[in-house]
């Protein structure tokens, strides 16, 4: 007779299909629990009519949202299939993030032969970011970063890092850790 059942981890209870649902950009939260009304990219399940309203508005919220979406389109190691244009991602989470950006018209196009990441961004069109270095994701680091030269912003060198909340929190600046943006993520 069976007395005990041990399930090795929660990953076996779930489908391992990651779906992008909600996010915060700056001080604003986005994503509702309602069913999307438009066709979704794979690994995306997102509905929020407020998104475009904020993006097309003016001021800090619009800027923060644009910055966050640009980040999502750049901070990854996706390889675009030359024949099908499909994204090949290291993980379903990464695909969810980059496909979400694409769905919102922040589309990662490809990396050209000179290591320039090319993204198509609303109102700005095609933008080039030269990829200088990738700090790879590992299960112990729980984060990955890209270092890019922003050719659209005077060649400024920028580091974009994404990862597990506790890991990122420990690496924020003293000002960022007590900022209202930090409070908005709680």
């Amino acid at each position: 007779m069976v007395e005990y059942v041990f399930s090795d981890k929660t990953g076996t209870l779930t489908q391992n299909i990651m779906e992008f649902r909600k996010f915060t950009a700056g001080m604003k939260n986005f994503g509702t629990n309602e069913k999307p009304t438009v066709k979704q990219e794979s690994n995306v399940n997102f509905h929020d009519p407020n998104f475009h309203q904020v993006l097309n508005g003016s001021g800090k919220d619009s800027k923060d949202l644009d910055h966050c979406m640009t980040f999502l389109s750049l901070c990854h190691t996706i390889v675009v299939d030359k024949n099908t244009n499909a994204y090949n991602a290291a993980s379903p989470d990464e695909l969810a993030l980059v496909n979400f950006a694409k769905q919102m018209n922040y589309e990662f196009k490809d990396i050209d032969k000179d290591d320039n990441m090319i993204v198509d961004i609303p109102k700005k069109g095609l933008q080039k970011y030269k990829l200088l270095h990738v700090c790879e994701f590992t299960s112990s680091r729980k984060r990955m970063s890209v270092i890019v030269k922003d050719l659209n912003d005077g060649g400024k060198i920028k580091l974009f890092c994404k990862g597990a909340d506790s890991i990122i929190k420990a690496r924020l600046s003293k000002t960022s850790i007590i900022s209202p943006e930090m409070a908005a993520t709680q």
């Binding site: 007395e3 399930s7 929660t10 299909i17 915060t24 700090c135 680091r141 970063s145 924020l172």
Partner: protein, 95 residues
């Protein structure tokens, strides 16, 4: 970095150390929520197993909040249960 990349031994460790030196003093841009749905009929199956007297244990590397959330949605936990949370970093605390 170029030197680290050319190492034949301990290359990954050397690169990881260098990466660590630049990923700090960052500014928060935003946060994202990605859902991993339960497999079909997980909750019903687990409730059925519990009714037959099987004891269910779950081992997980997730953080406590995630484990509790999954516990409720998978039918492992319910609000009628006595819940005990034993939390600590070392054996002494847990004793």
């Amino acid at each position: 970095m170029e030197q680290a990349k050319l190492l034949t031994q301990g290359r990954d460790e050397a690169i990881e150390k260098l990466d660590e030196t630049i990923e700090h003093d960052m500014t928060l841009v935003g946060s994202t929520a990605i859902e991993d749905k339960l497999q079909d009929e997980v909750a019903d199956t687990i409730r059925f197993m519990k009714r037959t007297g099987i004891k269910v244990w779950v081992l997980t590397g997730d953080k406590i909040e995630t484990a509790i959330n999954i516990g409720f949605s998978a039918g492992l936990l319910d609000t009628d249960m006595d819940q005990h949370l034993v939390d600590g970093d070392d054996l002494e605390t847990l004793k």
